[in-house]
């Protein structure tokens, strides 16, 4: 499942809710691998006060769905979850959550890592930063892994 969030979300209660409301494979999922990306208060050496996350409504959701489908095709995973924030956010707030449930841990880790790597390379999101010094700038490329 993929979801865009326009307001702050708690990744941990999102994960609990997802597990309680989705089929994790009837006792077949022994492993959950999760990544949570949170807004830091610095980037490229500068203090950042606020972030605006733009997206391409429609294409963003479709690209996230494709990424989740790929993970399910490539690894024996029973479920995938991608949640991504859009709009204005401040340091400390979660930006992204990716998770994969599987019978064994390697498939879960590999699928979860694929979700976040593919998202960072392909999903149409763009970050604009409000710096501590008052300037505004678009992030020109993604952060190092």
């Amino acid at each position: 499942m993929v979801r865009l969030e326009t307001a702050i979300f708690d990744p941990w209660s999102t994960l609990r809710d997802f597990e309680q409301t989705h089929d994790m494979g009837d006792g077949r999922s022994g492993a959950a691998a999760v990544f949570v990306g949170t807004m830091r208060d610095f980037n490229a050496g500068d203090g950042v006060r606020r972030l605006f996350l733009e997206h391409y409504p429609g294409m963003t959701e479709r690209e996230l769905e494709r990424i989740a489908d790929e993970a399910v095709e490539r690894w024996p995973v029973n479920a995938c979850l991608i949640v991504h924030r859009v709009g204005l956010i401040v340091p400390g707030e979660p930006i992204v959550l990716t998770a994969a449930w599987s019978a064994h841990r390697n498939a879960g880790f590999d699928a979860c890592r694929h979700l976040i790597e593919a998202l960072k390379h392909r999903a149409p999101f763009w970050k604009r930063e409000d710096l501590a010094n008052g300037e505004q700038r678009w992030v020109s490329e993604n952060t190092p892994a």
Partner: protein, 76 residues
Amino acid sequence: MSITIRYFASLREQIGRGEDRLDAAGIATVDAAWQHLHGTPLPARVLAAVNQEYVGAEHVLTDGDEVAFFPPVTGG
């Protein structure tokens, strides 16, 4: 032939608008659409999507297509 062109993020700000419309039967490809509107070949750093799927500059356009141009993505 009617094509909607959309711009996102820093590219939208550089161009000064979020959308263009083309009614140009002679425009065959994504690159040709960009050339027609902006007078240069599609820059290497500008990504293109047609109907919300990534395409290359030589992708052939069809009546009613939604073409999007945007800078490298920075989500996650």
